[in-house]
Symmetry: C2
Subunit: 303 residues, 2 copies
């Protein structure tokens, strides 16, 4: 193996059991000259195509221009593009940084700078749960029938099967479609993914109270075939978007004891068991939490 | 990270430049009791879905029932199934085994046992090139218009664009379609992958002598959308199948100095530069060679 290597981690996110969540590949760049050499992103993008994961990240040292509270800068790539923000890569990269010996400047909170700005990641008292506060929506509001028609076509679903359609864009351009219930979500088959073009969408449907063994009240699936990800196993940014959407609408299955608080199940059709814990705290902020597990630890040849 | 970890390698195959070939994830199991515990393959299959690579392998120790010449047993998984044989995982796994300190019983030749039987892998004198001898075809002969129609539909190509169609099945169920030339191959767009169902196919087209800078005389692309791999970056088994097909037909672009000897370029449309060296030796056997590069080296939590 070449001597020009960097620390590498592959972390499973949003599951407490290995290989049941969503993996992210994380390379840690500590050397500022290497960070500078790779800054145009071409090599990072190529490496992300090579890993073939829904997301591949690079942790970079804070620069002099950064706010002093920043712990690290994160760049996030899919096989097809760079993203300003993404959920599972945020938690997985934070876990890799902690595993690598990173010490947050502020106890219990890691401050990540990404394309969207500063993201705050809380570490639970037992260290097991990492949560990020939902970034603001860059685009929200109902999606029109015309806008969702490509998604309906990809899934071969009639328009009347969609109860609500909403833009929840916080980086990735998610469109959220609510179906009748969780079962309807699990039954969807994306038979014609190319009909959706470059569009990214997710579907959600509720479980009745007590119906899901882990207490999930929503089943979610997300699709981005135009970006090389037919179905994403578990998606933090989508659930973060749901949190922002539900902030005002407060649907019954997302509220507990008068507060926005719900568990999302995702990945069931892909033999994953993603669990996302979404909760509004006293400060009004909504946090998306999940378990993380370092599954691969080693070194990578300089991308 | 859990203490139950195994050696892990991710190797780039068929390229001399990192991240320009086809990656394979390789886990090495040295402990016989772990090998026995995982033998039903369920955990291996789950890990292969999680890596999301076209192939993920497990190197296992030879068992008492194995022929004495066997150096290791290999199990090969795609995200969707287990394969009896595959080309780039064979070379990449062999490289990982050598990097891990494996010493072949017979100098210069590694003997791998896989679902298809024994595969012989030659190490070039400088140690750089690994080559496997092409396994016999389990199915060969012309493919009918009816058989190739799903592939034509997926690519939106008229039947008259295909000059020859041949089954070259040596594990993966490849169907090979020859197009007019290399340019025609590079221009193909798989606009309706679902039309191909579970089918796997490849297209080939020739370069004129001197046209390709690296001396390739064929451009190849392979597709297996039904198995979760829309387009495979570089495919050893397909070129091995071409070698067996050309053994008797000896097309001009595959012969040099009266011998079957040609270089295949693959992955161009995916920003890869796969190069496969196919050559018939004095013993009559056809060998498929390629460069390999260990890109990630570390440990993995027991799948």
């Amino acid at each position: 193996m070449s001597t020009s290597t960097l620390p590498f981690y592959q972390v499973d996110v949003f599951s407490s059991e290995p290989y049941k969540g969503n993996p992210v590949a994380v390379t840690i760049i500590e050397d500022e000259s290497i960070a500078e050499r790779l800054q145009d992103g071409d090599h990072m993008a190529r490496f992300a195509r090579w890993t073939n994961l829904s997301e591949t990240t690079f942790i970079l040292p804070p620069t002099k221009q950064d706010e002093p509270e920043v712990d690290y800068t994160l760049r996030i790539f899919t096989p097809g593009m760079e993203l300003p923000f993404a959920g599972h890569p945020t938690l997985g990269s934070c876990r890799a940084w902690l595993e690598h010996g990173g010490k947050p400047k502020q106890a219990g909170v890691v401050v990540q700078k990404c394309g969207l700005g500063l993201i705050y990641i809380r570490i639970s008292e037992d260290g097991q749960l990492l949560s990020f506060s939902t970034p603001p929506l860059r685009k929200s509001g109902p999606a029109s029938l015309q806008e969702i028609t490509p998604f309906l076509k990809a899934m071969d679903l009639p328009a009347e099967d969609v109860l609500e359609a909403e833009w929840i864009v916080n980086g990735p351009e998610w469109c959220a479609l609510r179906l009748r219930d969780a079962k309807a979500v699990l039954n969807v088959n994306v038979s014609d993914p190319s009909a959706a073009g470059k569009g990214m969408w997710g579907i959600l449907g509720s479980y009745k109270p007590g119906q899901h063994p882990d207490g999930a009240t929503l089943e979610v699936r997300t699709f981005a075939p135009g970006d090389g990800i037919l179905e994403d196993p578990v998606t933090g940014s989508f659930s973060a978007g749901l949190g922002e959407w539900f902030r005002n609408t407060k649907p019954a299955e997302a509220v507990k004891d008068d507060r926005l608080s719900f568990i999302v199940a995702q990945g069931t059709c892909l033999d994953r068991s993603g669990r996302l814990y979404i909760k509004q705290e006293d400060d009004g902020k909504i946090w998306v939490g999940g378990r993380t597990l370092v599954c691969i630890k080693g070194n990578v040849v300089l991308p």
